[in-house]
């Protein structure tokens, strides 16, 4: 493995770790700035709230709190959730798997739909391509929030799919989980497929105009080979480059879908943590989200570097 590549990978990994740390610290600081804290509740008596605040150390100045948290975080102990009274790691561990399952399957489905569709619309002009393009435009303008509600209504009306939730435990019947997964996955995958289709379509069009492809054509390559061999290889690079960004989009899209469809994932937890002003859970969720994002971006950058090692060189 070339040294430049290794250096590149190491550099990126360190930066990712730094990002995770800074994002979780920033999230904690920001939520602390907001009005109200974990015990601001009309349902709790003010004395009990004050006593709890003291017991949990919430009335300490922020820097003291932060220093304590940092000290524990370095030892990979992210504290206890104020709302759930359980270790933050456990809560996040339960939920992050669900989000990754949802996000990964959505991304996979979106790619499986979007990539071929993009190649189709980028290389042809017929009615089929126009239809595909039209559907893609339509899906592009419908945000995940609306698709979630449409799918929920579809589920309630037809009874083919359960109306939200996650039902059976993972590992205890994957068919069951797949039924519950189908709709949230679709809600994210459909708009995402449209994005991938558009990106791939543009990339294919550019690739087909590339001199190497024209040369191949001049050599007498069949149309199908032109598209599916030469142009595809060229067009893949820009799309791979953007996969990191797509991971980010899927993550933020999944937040909305999780809440609406009662899918117990990281997005739902982040929202609850915000509403409950649960500082340590907020930090943990932000860290987990940053980790997922950094991992996705890193993977995408590494893939790009493999595809085109020139990217790793400075100008």
């Amino acid at each position: 493995m070339p040294r430049a590549f290794v250096r590149f990978a190491v550099r990126r990994t360190l930066l990712a770790a730094l990002t995770v740390l800074l994002v979780s610290s920033a999230a904690m600081a920001l939520v602390r700035l907001a009005p109200g804290d974990a015990l601001s509740d009309f349902e709790m008596s003010l004395e009990a709230a004050a006593a709890e605040r003291e017991r949990l150390g919430l009335d300490a100045p922020f820097l003291t709190q932060y220093a304590a948290w940092l000290g524990r975080a370095i030892r990979l102990d992210f504290g206890q959730s104020l709302k759930y009274r359980r270790p933050v790691q456990d809560l996040i561990g339960e939920r992050v798997g669900n989000t990754v399952l949802l996000g990964a399957s959505a991304l996979l489905l979106a790619t499986l739909i979007g990539l071929p569709a993009g190649i189709l619309t980028g290389s042809r002009r017929g009615p089929l391509a126009s239809l595909a393009r039209g559907v893609s435009f339509a899906l592009l303008s419908i945000p995940p929030l609306v698709t979630s509600f449409v799918l929920l209504l579809f589920a309630a009306a037809t009874g083919l799919f359960p109306v939200g939730g996650m039902g059976a435990l993972p590992g205890g019947g994957s068919i069951e989980v797949a039924r519950y997964l189908a709709l949230p996955c679709l809600a994210i995958a459909l708009p995402m497929a449209a994005v991938i289709e558009r990106l791939q379509s543009e990339a294919v069009r550019d690739a087909l105009a590339d001199p190497s492809v024209r040369a191949a054509r001049a050599r007498g390559c069949s149309r199908a080979r032109l598209v599916w061999r030469h142009a595809r290889r060229l067009s893949l690079k820009p799309v791979i480059a953007l996969y990191g960004v797509l991971v980010g989009t899927v993550l933020s899209g999944s937040f909305v879908v999780e809440i609406v469809m009662a899918w117990p994932g990281l997005g739902a937890l982040t929202y609850e943590a915000l509403v409950a002003r649960d500082l340590y859970l907020v930090a943990g969720c932000a860290a987990a989200g940053a980790l997922c994002l950094s991992a996705g971006v890193l993977a995408s950058d590494l893939a790009l570097a493999v595809a085109d090692p020139r990217v790793t060189e400075p100008s």
């Binding site: 907001a34 009005p35 109200g36 804290d37 601001s40 509740d41 009309f42 349902e43 709790m44 008596s45 003010l46 004395e47 009990a48 006593a51 709890e52 017991r55 959730s81 709302k83 759930y84 009274r85 359980r86 270790p87 456990d90 809560l91 339960e94 939920r95 509600f149 929920l152 209504l153 589920a155 309630a156 009874g159 359960p162 109306v163 939200g164 939730g165 996650m166 435990l169 809440i259 609406v260 469809m261 009662a262 117990p264 739902a268 937890l269 609850e272 915000l274 509403v275 409950a276 002003r277």
Partner: protein, 593 residues
Amino acid sequence: MTPFSPRCDPACRRPENGRAALMVLVVTALSVVALAFWFARRPAGPGILQEITPGGEIVASIRSDPSTYNRYAPGGANAATELLSLLLHARLIRVDRATDELEPMLAEGWTRSDDGLTYTVRLRPGIAFSDGRPFTSADVLFSFRVAYDDGVRSPVRSAVEINGKPIEVSAPDDLTVVLRLPEPYAPGLRLLDNLPILPRHRLEGALGEGRFADAWSPSRPLDEIAGLGPFVLAEHVSGQRLVLTRNPQYFRRDASGVQLPYLDRLTLAVVPDQTAEALRLEAGETDLMYSGEIRPQDYASFQRAAGDGRLRLLDVGVGLDPDFLSFNLRPERARDPRAAWLLRREFRQAVSWAVDRQAIADTVYLGAAVPVSGPITPGNRTWHAPDLPAHPHDPARARALLASLGLEDRDGDGMLDDARGAPVRFSILTQAGHNRERVSTVVQEQLRQIGMAVDVVTMDPRGLFARWNAGDYDAMYFGLQASSTDPWLVPEFWLSSGAFHFWHPKQARPATEWEARIDALMRDHAGEADLDRRRQAFTDVQRLFAEQLPSIYFVAPRVTLATSARVLNPTPAPQIPQLLWSADTLAVSGPRR
């Protein structure tokens, strides 16, 4: 033919028949009396439906899962934990929410001393916790001890204190508890409805070692919990569901001797979104909702589902605890440049006259709400005062009141200005994404029509609390749920010294003459044994409230509950949880689908 002597013709009625007649009459009377005695001595059990077969499961949806299973722990005041305590634990005496009467549960009966200060409660014999250990008066003493413990700082504490003082509890024997109240207390043992009984053998150690708050938290094994309630917590998958199974040791039986609960299993599914919750109920995936009322915009489709026979709708009447528009009347508000009119009673009265309550009922609740003028609605049958001064929509009167404060349209732009020419403008803080936001919008529009500019600022609930606590708001449109229908059990709202005396909490001395009068009325009748006299006093309180209007009440929604068609024998009540408060008498007609 007479019944006494078929062979004798009416002309010859002999004296023996008369004696026989008398005998039969006497025997009949005696048997009737004996029967009456027999029925009266039977323990009052819940009514039964002959068609109920025990068994089956129900799925109920709740909005969020509990952060602790321990109602006495500081975090135990939230809705999910309270629901669990209703299902896992029992009380000595409970308020039957359908009738608002006291009902003996773990207690068999009680006597009250003449001075009203001492109650002797007899416990039912032969009751055991879900782990088999017997229930005795020591558990009751322990529960009180935890509630009053300074180290625990339990939210239950204020519910079993009288005017801030604890009750002296003692147990002369295993089946008797003597409660000595610090001062005469009119609601009496009603406060025991808020005290679930804890198992001493399970929690005494944790209390002694100072780790009570962490006992029965989700990080501990579930079998550490033991209770006297109808169910046992079998499983909790965070963010998804809680599964409760029947407690084989549950003490309650129905009137025909069948052991309760009827259900084998009760699953609480966590569904954070209200629309998804309604959809799941309609689709038949859940059987009822924890907060079981239908939103007005869902009514049409629920009606259709009921017509198809998939759902059943139950009308519970007018709800309790309506939302209110409360103005900030704390003394530091006097520094606000608008204090000359914003803090005045005439201003609040003008707002009340200017708002068309029926329009709010029609627009936001689609007609399924009634106009109200105070915190006690017709749904609270015992305490509602029917002939309070009401303010039907009268913009002219509102304008006149505002003019008397010097607020007129001085520059012809249609909006009112004060004496210095500054516009009449204030902000209403309310909860984002909630019906409260919609009502605030309607109120904003109506006040605009008489020339007042209102800004509606929405926030999440904790932000709202922070602003309220800091006194940093003009007006807030919000709602509080009272822990009881009896106002003397909610002193934190009615007394000026109360922590939730919303418009001006925790006053050292009553700030106004009318608040002093309300305080006096409440205090003077705190020990009043006669319910009618207490009700009369409280009617006076409500009248004062309606005249001064520190908080303005607009409408109270009519509550319609929905259950799946499988659910049998529901006992609907207006307070949340409308159906699960009596989960032990719920039954189902058959398996799902």
